[in-house]
C-alpha cells in the first residue's frame, strides 16, 4: 500500500468508530465495549499513521510530498476543489502525535468515564473529534481545512458541554464556540483573499503563486493576519484566549485530549502549513511572534495565583502554546513543532494525573483543599511529577530541549527576536514555579481528609455538586459524582499514563543539539523552500541556552519549594502584602471583564432592547396584533348583521332582491 492509501485509512477508522459508537448508544453504562471500540478505531488509525510514516521514509526526501484526490468536492465558477489529502512530513508528524496521544487518552477514558451515563455518547464525540482533527491535518486545500477546522470547533463545543445539565458547562461551551467561530470567519476571509489574488484554493497553487509576491504585499499581509485570527482563536492566544480556561468544565480526558494536546495546537500547525505565506509577509509573522510572547507571559502570570487545579494547567497550556506560536512565527518551524510534540505528551499526562487526583477528591478541583496525596497515590504522584518536570524544563526531561530550540533560534535571529527570547526565559522561570506550586500543594503538605481516607484504602465520598459554582446538580445525564471513585485504581488509567510519563521524560531524544537531529531532518522537506529550514544556532550556543533554561527551572522549582514547603504560609503573607497584584492576576488581567463590558453587555442590552421594542411592541404589537385588530373590526360589522331575528333576515333578503330588480330595471331602461 502506498503512503496515501494509509492516509485515507487514517481518516476512515475514526469515522467508522464515530458511527459505531453512536449506534451503540443504548448500551448500558459500565459496559466498556463501546469504549474499546472507540479506542480500537483510534489505535488502528495510529497504526495506519505509522504505515504512512514508514512508506514516506522509503522515498527520497524531495519526493515526500504526496497528494491523493478521491473526488471533486466542488467544481464551479473557476473553483475546483477536490476531496484530497496531502501526505508530507508535516502532516505525517502531526497525525502521529494526534492519533498516538488520542489513543492513550481513549484508553484512559474507558476507565475514567465508566460510571457516566453518557458513555457511548462520549466516545462517539471523541472519535468524531479525532476524525475532524485528522481531516484538518490531512487536507490538501483550504476548503477541506476549513471543514475540518469547523468540525473540530463543533466537537470541542459538544465535549465541553458534555454534562449539559450543568449551566456553567453549557455556558463555557457556548463561549468556546463563539470564540472559535470568530477564528473560522477569519480563516474563511483569509481563504477568500488568497483565492482572489492567486485564483486557487489548493495549498500547492496558493503557495506557488504567493512565492512570487513581493515581500509584505498588502493582500498577503491581510490574508496572513486573517489566518492568525483563525490560529489564535483555536490556539487560545491573546486576545482570543478567554474560552480555554472555561473549557475545563468538560470531562478531564477532554481537557487532556482537546484542550491540551491536540486541538489547541491546530493554530501552530496552520502557521507551519502556511509558512510560505508568512515568509513573504514578515510583518504578520512579527505580529504573531509578539502576541505569542505576550500570551506566554500573561498566561504564566495568571497561572501563578489560580487555585483550580485544572485551570492552572489550562493557563499553562496557553503559555506553552505561546512558545510554539513564537517558534513557528520566527520561522523555527521544526523547533515549534518539536515543542508541540513534547507538550502534547507532558500536558496530556498532567491532565490525566490531575483527573486522577480530582476523582480521588470526589470531584473537588480546588487546590486549597488538596494536599498530601504523595503517599496515598504514589503512581499519580510520580507521573504528575514527571509531567511537571518536563513542563518546568528540568534537565534532561523533554520540555527543555524543545523550549530551548525555540528560544535559541530566536537569539540566533537577534534584534527584536532576542528581546522576545528573554521574555521567553522569564516565562520559563514562572512556568517552573507554578508547575511545582501544583506539585507541592497537591502532593505535599498536610493530608487532606480525602487523602487520609484513601491511604486507609477507602474512597472519598463526593457529592453531586458543581465544582465551579457549588450548586447541587441534576445527575440524570451522568457525572463523575459519588459513584465515580477511580483514583488510579483502574489498570486502564495506568496503562495510558505510563507511556506518556516515559515520553515526557525521553521525547527530547529526537533532537538533542549536537547529538541527534532526527526530527529536524524528518521535517526538513516540508520547509525546504526557505533558508530558515537549515539555519540553526551553533551547538555550543544551544547548550548555553539549555544550561540557562535548566538553571532557571531549578530556581523556579526551588522558589516553589521554599514558599510552599520550607515556609508554608509565606505565600498568604505575600498575597496580603501585594493584594492589588494578586487581584489583578487572579481576575485574569480582567480580560473577561473587559470583553463582558465591551461586547457581552452591550449585546445583551441590545438584545433586551430588541425583545422589548422590536419584538414586543413592533412585531407582536403592530404587525401581528394590527392584523388581528383589522380582522376583528371587520367581523364585528359582519356580526352586527347576524341579529338572530328571522324577520330581519327576511327583510335583508327582500332588500337585496329589490335592489337587484331595481338595478336590472334601470339597466334595461
Amino acid at each position: 500500500m502506498s503512503a496515501t492509501t494509509f492516509g485515507w485509512l487514517v481518516l476512515i477508522f475514526p469515522l467508522v468508530g464515530t458511527v459505531l459508537c453512536a449506534l451503540l448508544y443504548r448500551m448500558p453504562a459500565r459496559q466498556p465495549l463501546v469504549g474499546w471500540i472507540g479506542s480500537a478505531a483510534i489505535g488502528l488509525s495510529f497504526a495506519a499513521g505509522i504505515g504512512m510514516f514508514i512508506k514516506l521514509l522509503d522515498r527520497a526526501p524531495e519526493q515526500r510530498h504526496l497528494i491523493s484526490n478521491a473526488f471533486n468536492y466542488a467544481n464551479s465558477a473557476g473553483i475546483n476543489v477536490k476531496l484530497g489529502i496531502l501526505v508530507d512530513p508535516l502532516s505525517v508528524f502531526m497525525v502521529l502525535v494526534v492519533t498516538g496521544v488520542s489513543f492513550l487518552i481513549h484508553i484512559y477514558s474507558v476507565a475514567y468515564m465508566k460510571s457516566d451515563l453518557g458513555y457511548a455518547r462520549f466516545f462517539a464525540y471523541l472519535n468524531y473529534f479525532v476524525f475532524s482533527m485528522l481531516l484538518l491535518l490531512l487536507a490538501n486545500n483550504f476548503v477541506l481545512l476549513i471543514v475540518g477546522w469547523a468540525f473540530v470547533g463543533a466537537a470541542s463545543y459538544l465535549l465541553i458541554s458534555f454534562w449539559y445539565r450543568r449551566a456553567s458547562a453549557t455556558y463555557a461551551g457556548i463561549k468556546a464556540f463563539v470564540m472559535n467561530v470568530i477564528g473560522d470567519v477569519g480563516l474563511v476571509i483569509a481563504a477568500f483573499l488568497l483565492f482572489q489574488h492567486t485564483g486557487s484554493l489548493d495549498y500547492n497553487g496558493v503557495f506557488a503563486h504567493a512565492a512570487h509576491a513581493s515581500s509584505n504585499t498588502g493582500w498577503l499581509v491581510a490574508a496572513c493576519l486573517m489566518i492568525l485570527v483563525g490560529a489564535f482563536a483555536k490556539s487560545a492566544q491573546v486576545p482570543l484566549h478567554t474560552w480555554l480556561p472555561d473549557a475545563m468544565e468538560g470531562p478531564t480526558p477532554v481537557s487532556a485530549l482537546i484542550h491540551a494536546a491536540t486541538m489547541v495546537t491546530a493554530g501552530v500547525y496552520l502557521i507551519a502549513r502556511t509558512h510560505v505565506l508568512f515568509l513573504h509577509a514578515p510583518a504578520a509573522a512579527d505580529v504573531s511572534a509578539i502576541l505569542g510572547t505576550a500570551t506566554l507571559l500573561i498566561a504564566a502570570t495568571i497561572a501563578l495565583v489560580q487555585t483550580d487545579l485544572k485551570r492552572v494547567i489550562a493557563y499553562s497550556t496557553m503559555s506553552q502554546i505561546g512558545y510554539m506560536i513564537v517558534g513557528v512565527s520566527v520561522f523555527a518551524w521544526s523547533a515549534g513543532l518539536f515543542h508541540l510534540m513534547t507538550h502534547a505528551f507532558f500536558k496530556a499526562l498532567l491532565f490525566m494525573a490531575a483527573g486522577s487526583v480530582i476523582s480521588a477528591m470526589g470531584g473537588e478541583q480546588n487546590m486549597d483543599r488538596m494536599g498530601g496525596f504523595r503517599r496515598a497515590m504514589p503512581f499519580t504522584f510520580i507521573t504528575f511529577t514527571f509531567g511537571a518536570l518536563a513542563l518546568a524544563g528540568f534537565f534532561p526531561f523533554s520540555g527543555i530541549f524543545s523550549k530551548d530550540a525555540i528560544l535559541g533560534f530566536e537569539f540566533d535571529r537577534g534584534g527584536l527576536y532576542a528581546v522576545l527570547a528573554v521574555v521567553g526565559y522569564l516565562g520559563s522561570f514562572l512556568t517552573a514555579f507554578y508547575a511545582f506550586r501544583m506539585v507541592f500543594r497537591t502532593f505535599f503538605g498536610e493530608m487532606a481528609p480525602e487523602a487520609e481516607s484513601l491511604s486507609r484504602g477507602e474512597l472519598a465520598h463526593g457529592e453531586h455538586f458543581n465544582p465551579a459554582t457549588g450548586e447541587e446538580e441534576d445527575t440524570e445525564v451522568g457525572f463523575p459524582g459519588p459513584d465515580h471513585q477511580i483514583a488510579e485504581r483502574e489498570p486502564a488509567m495506568k496503562v495510558a499514563m505510563a507511556p506518556l510519563a516515559f515520553l515526557a521524560f525521553a521525547a527530547g531524544i529526537v533532537w538533542i543539539p549536537g547529538v541527534t537531529d532526527w526530527l529536524e531532518k524528518f521535517l526538513e522537506p516540508t520547509f525546504a523552500d526557505s533558508s530558515f529550514a537549515t539555519q540553526h544556532p551553533s551547538t555550543s550556543a544551544e547548550w548555553i541556552g539549555i544550561a540557562v533554561g535548566a538553571v532557571l527551572s531549578i530556581a523556579g522549582i526551588g522558589l516553589a519549594w521554599f514558599l510552599y514547603e520550607r515556609r508554608a504560609g509565606a505565600t498568604l503573607r505575600l498575597r496580603d502584602r501585594f493584594r492589588p497584584v494578586h487581584d489583578f492576576l487572579f481576575n485574569k488581567w480582567y480580560f473577561d471583564d473587559l470583553y463582558d463590558a465591551v461586547f457581552v453587555h452591550p449585546m445583551r442590552a441590545f438584545g433586551g432592547f430588541g425583545r422589548r421594542v422590536i419584538e414586543t411592541d413592533f412585531v407582536q404589537g403592530a404587525i401581528v396584533g394590527g392584523a388581528g385588530r383589522v380582522v376583528g373590526a371587520g367581523t364585528s360589522i359582519a356580526r352586527s348583521i347576524q341579529t338572530g331575528y328571522l324577520r330581519a333576515y327576511a327583510f335583508l333578503l327582500l332588500l337585496g332582491v329589490g335592489g337587484l330588480l331595481l338595478y336590472f330595471l334601470i339597466r334595461s331602461a
Binding site: Q642, T643, Y645, L654
Partner: protein, 99 residues
C-alpha cells in the same frame, strides 16, 4: 288578455306575502305569507308561459309547488318542535342564531 294584468296581480300578491312575512310574528302566518309569495311567482311564470305560447313555464310552476310543499313540511315540523318544547310560538322568540 294583456299579460300586464297578470303581472300586476302577481306583484300585488308578492307584496302582500312579503309584508306578511315581515310584519307577522306568528310562524304559521309567516308560512302562509310565504306560500302567497311563491304562488305570486307561479302566477307570473304561467302568465309569461302563456304570452310566449309554450308550456315549459307551467312545468316550472308545478316544480315550484312541489318545493313549496316540502318547505311547508319542514316549516310545520319546526313549529311543532317549538310547540313541543313549550316555547312561545313567536318568530322573534327564537333568536339563538345571533352572531
Amino acid at each position: 288578455m294583456n299579460v300586464t294584468w297578470f303581472l300586476v296581480l302577481s306583484a300585488f300578491l308578492f307584496c302582500i306575502g312579503a309584508t306578511g312575512v315581515l310584519v307577522r310574528r306568528n310562524p304559521l302566518v309567516v308560512l302562509l305569507s310565504l306560500e302567497l309569495m311563491l304562488n305570486a311567482g307561479n302566477l307570473a311564470l304561467i302568465a309569461f308561459s302563456r304570452m310566449v305560447g309554450n308550456g315549459e313555464g307551467q312545468i316550472f310552476a308545478l316544480v315550484v309547488m312541489v318545493i313549496a310543499a316540502c318547505e311547508v313540511v319542514i316549516g310545520l315540523g319546526l313549529i311543532v318542535a317549538i310547540y313541543r318544547r313549550r316555547l312561545p310560538i313567536d318568530v322573534d322568540g327564537v333568536s339563538e342564531m345571533r352572531g
